[in-house]
Amino acid sequence: MQKIAIVAYNQSKCLANAGGSNEVELIMPQLRAVFGQVGLNNSQDVDFVCSGSCDYLQGAAFAFVSGVDALGAVPPIKESHVEMDAAWALYESMLKIRMGQAESALIYGFGKSSPGELPIVLSQQLDPYYLAPQWVDTVSLAAMQARLMLDSGAISERDMAEVVARSRNNAMGNSLAQLASTVTADELLAEESYVSPLRKSDCCPISDGASAMIICTVGKAEEWGVPYAIISGIDHRIETHNLAMRDLTDSVSTRQAAAAAGAGQGPIDVAELYAPFSHQEIILSRALGLGAETDINPSGGVLAGNLMMASGLSRIGEVFNRIISGDAQRGIGHATSGPCLQHNLVAVLESEQCSARGNT
């Protein structure tokens, strides 16, 4: 099977409010950047385009169609969209390449969450009969999950504060982050409660922005003559929509996806985990069996800035950046969707050398 590589990635700054910019204006600079990294002109130079977004975020019907205006789709291109995080657009693009229908693909995700009330908007992704009519917001659901964790002794509030402190401090090195500081866990623990037991700092901020990526076969990457990282495995699993039937203190779907993606077949130098709430990073790193040898969320993760519908793709992009820079040889990019980590995707990325070793 043809190996598939990431050859370009770019993300906008995470902004609390992108002001007047619409979807096209958020997407276009990211596309220009990734085309520039590979030396392409526009989407005519790739075989397939797939995007991830949700019109509910900005409350503009068919915003995802307007987004196509950023592509240069004349003459017509092969294009698709997922009403999900763009990490799943990456998944669809990989299937397209594996089926032999494309050698290269452009993937982008965008979210302008500031025009609406994101935690309420996300209540509409719940099951339409029992939960959505109650408008149960994402923060309240995550708070219930954190309560289960705390009461069962699985974590302490200090564990959560330490996740946040590490995110804020790591984000000091990330110019695209929205929240970065040298805050300590003690200082965070002194903050008042928001939606008990969560403090505001335990929750990811709401951010506007976009990210884009180009993937292709290794043959194409070598033809283009650009550095690349191999996606050696990718898988996603979903749990039931019925929250009462799930063990919210664990993430079975993440563990299964990681196993299927081959995460355990080598050391994991870096992991970028899509954990919108501090306690969820602990659930995820335990499900993935990550230890001290793994640098978790060196970008600060989504607690430092959460581009809804692009953050999952960005997690994979962050790992790509670290492999290209030589900081890591092998890593995991994780994406989540749905309430309380319902749906999880795991992508395993390897450097060219690391991937070659695995084959011998």
């Binding site: 979807e23 009330e117 009519p133």
Partner: protein
Amino acid sequence: MITDIKTPVYLQYKFTAGNSQARFLAQLKRGILTGQRCPSCAKVYCPPRGSCAACGVGTEEEVKLSGKATVQSFTIVAIPIPGNPIKPPFIIANLVPDGANISFIHLMSECVNEEVHIGQRVEAIWAPEEEWDYAMSNIRYFKPLDEPDVAVEDIGHIGVDGEGI
């Protein structure tokens, strides 16, 4: 037996039009119809959408258009539409303003519906200045001009001075 339930959903948004549309609407508020030119293919979009959809690049250059336009296509609406204050039958038309290459949809009035045709020349009738807002409705409708028709192949290629573009 429960046969149906009502589950109202209210989501509040602060809608933003986009930077390029905001410039367009600000000019409309001043009574000026504008388009924006693609730096790559030179086509002028009205209303601008933030990018040239064909080339995928931003449209920065603002172009002032005249209120004259050409009918590219039209339909006669015969059925009342709930919430629409306009009494049928009325005409909605795809109009290409002089100086632009892409059509927009607007109303036609002060015309004989049965005589409206593709290639017909029309001009904008603006609402009184005190009613101008950040809205396309500042132009109430377009009415026919006493000018020769435009050949189909020339529609979308007429400059603001009447010459070809």
